[in-house]
Symmetry: C2
């Protein structure tokens, strides 16, 4: 698999996060001879927050994580690539139960604190014995440094590993936040899903962590799309080990939490953008901003409708400044618009305003912008104050290659 042309030029080295140890194993669940199972162990007392797919056809591991999230603590995370354990009925539930039970026994902790995630083919039984058999070896291999191995073990159709790290101060104490993610289509071919995991040594109570994660998710993972196909397995989990010694955090509004909050948001946005930049077949990274909508939600819906339009995405793939398709998508988004007030800019060139192409429109600078790797579209609807920004990629032959011939 060729690496995405949008892949980051350099990859940060992830430092240890106090209270986190990681190990990977080659279990041959679907892929052969590459690490495909990840075990992460967390210190006692680690606080957990989570956000999951809005699909109603949820995978068994998603159902399990949702169920145990309320107790707020985590001691381990087990992830496999190659099989989604989705649409697997009672058998899938039992697979999760066996993995959880065996992991709890291995690590000597409460099963209700074992989180699991799966990504891969939908509808095939998970060969869970391959995971449970590997647990002793995984336990012996646990180390504070294996962040890159972890990010690679969860990849499916991803062409590059997705990692990010930042530090922030809470009061006088420096804390670390590491994040890893995988994802390339929302559900990609047989094998993909959005999984993202964030780890910090900060001491953040689970309810505050949950609030922080839910907020940050809106403008990051909920603001990206590759193909509009929400996965059965989308899972975003945050773990705060509480190993750092700092002023107590009581609420998201605490003044001393603001730098951390900003860093945490940046971590999620960075990972989300990496996922788009590894979108299946992506050649161009597209930012779509909507201003002047009736409200923020309307702006978000319109921006996503443009971002998911096959005609907009293929035009961009063809470097065609075909802005008519953009307004076409705006019109079908189902949100209030007044066609005679719409302004469209591409790059920083105003293409259309007040419902028609600008007088003396010169396509040359817009055509030049379309040849670049980063495409910026700004729509001003002129009817309110709602705003949104979403990220997507173009729709290319590569997408068809990856998704139209994977298993055949």
């Amino acid at each position: 698999m060729k690496i995405s042309p949008l892949a980051p030029a350099s990859v940060p080295a992830l430092p240890p996060v106090a209270g986190i140890r990681l190990a990977t194993a080659v279990c041959n669940i679907r892929y052969k001879d590459r690490p495909d199972v990840l075990l992460i162990e967390m210190a006692e007392g680690t606080q957990v927050a989570g956000v999951f797919t809005e699909s109603l056809v949820t995978a068994a591991p998603v159902d399990w994580c949702r169920e145990i999230l309320a107790q707020g603590q985590g001691r381990a995370l087990v992830v496999n690539a190659g099989n989604a354990n989705a649409f697997t009925g009672q058998g899938g539930i039992e697979s999760v139960a066996r993995v959880v039970k065996a992991t709890a026994a291995t690590l000597k902790c409460n099963p209700e604190q074992i989180f699991v995630a799966s990504t891969g083919v939908i509808g095939e039984p998970l060969p869970d014995a391959k995971i449970t058999d590997a647990l002793p070896a995984l336990q012996s291999a646990l180390s504070e440094t294996k962040w890159d191995d972890a990010a690679r073990a969860i990849m499916t159709t991803d062409t590059f590993m997705k990692v990010v790290t930042k530090t922030a101060h809470i009061g006088d104490t420096q804390v670390t936040i590491n994040g890893i993610a995988k994802g390339s289509g929302m559900i990609a071919p047989n094998m993909a899903t959005l999984l993202a995991f964030v780890f910090t040594d900060a001491r953040i109570p689970a309810p505050v962590l949950q609030h922080l994660l839910s907020d940050a998710n809106e403008s990051s993972f909920n603001s990206i799309t590759v193909d509009g196909d929400t996965s059965t397995n989308d899972t975003l989990l945050a773990f705060a080990t509480g190993q750092a010694i700092h002023a107590e955090v009581k609420s998201l509004q605490d003044a001393h939490l603001q730098a951390f909050k900003k860093a945490f948001q940046d971590i999620l946005t960075d990972l989300a953008i990496q996922v788009v930049k590894d979108g299946e077949g992506a050649q161009k990274f597209i930012t779509i901003e909507v201003h002047g909508a009736e409200n923020n939600q309307a702006a978000h819906t319109i921006a996503l409708t443009v971002a998911n339009s096959p005609l907009v995405k293929t035009a961009i793939a063809g470097e065609d400044a075909n802005w008519g398709r953009i307004v076409g998508a705006v019109g079908r988004a189902g949100e209030h618009v007044d066609k005679d007030k719409i302004h469209v800019s591409i790059g920083s060139v105003v293409v259309a305003k007040d419902g028609a192409r600008v007088e003396g429109y010169d396509e040359a600078p817009v055509a030049a912008h379309m040849k670049g790797q980063n495409i910026d579209i700004l729509l001003n609807l002129g009817i309110g104050k709602g705003r949104a920004k979403v990220y997507t990629c173009d729709l290319t032959h590569g997408y068809i290659d990856i998704n139209g011939s994977y298993r055949s």
Copy 2:
């Protein structure tokens, strides 16, 4: 442009419809040296019904047709290909007004009875003088027989002309229904839109015709999708010239109208299926049926979500029996489903039931079905009596070729 592999093997010869005369002209609006403007003249007293795009960014000709539809009569229809006259502001409104005024003067009739439709690039001013200049020649050329010419003149990215004809009895009188359509993407590249026009010599009052058209539209044009991109210009018009002598029609429930009603529905379904079979890049024709939904509307939404899923469409293009993507799409449709009650059949093979793959699943017969040109998917949700059937095509390299490189 290569003809779609799904094109009908033979094309019916359309007979005259009493009260209808047609002519086409080469106006070089965008295409060069091919007929691109169509004039259809209708007998005095012709009753009209219409259904238009649900987009809020409607083209100027759509706004005009909506405005005049209430008076219920039509004397002419003017259609151009190559320019959609959409997102053209006040200039676009004035273009329509000039075409309407000149056509009314040429045919000596009420401007409020002149219907117009455009299809093509969005956002470019319509060179309407090219149309009005051609009106005298169009008038001289009017003939009862030029149905094929008419169907060809409105084509954009279409690879074959779309025509259909049927007869039906109203009482003892045989009446004729002819239909023509164009469309290849919902909005295709620069140049496409769904336009469909149906003509009959039956004597059907406009309110009854409207009811008939709106009903028939639901299970035909509202049940197809190529790429989910609803056009700014979608226009479906029905004209009943009333030249046939038959028992009076007072309501859609009249017993003597039932055969006509059936034929009219068949005409629309036939045209709608032709549009899908000419879907940009289409290699396979896909029928998706949903049974057992909460209600018909929910079934329709779920069927369309599956039909629009890029992952489902690319899997089918790749002849991959990847049914997990189908249930993935069901889960994100936003309608009530119980994942443990979903049954999936492909071809006539039950693949999954009660939320998991069937015991001893054998992929061979499903894989064989995927190699055919017609793909049939049946989903039973097991929670109610709602049903729907939609038609779509696969998503192939051809779609990317057509839409990613049209203007460049």
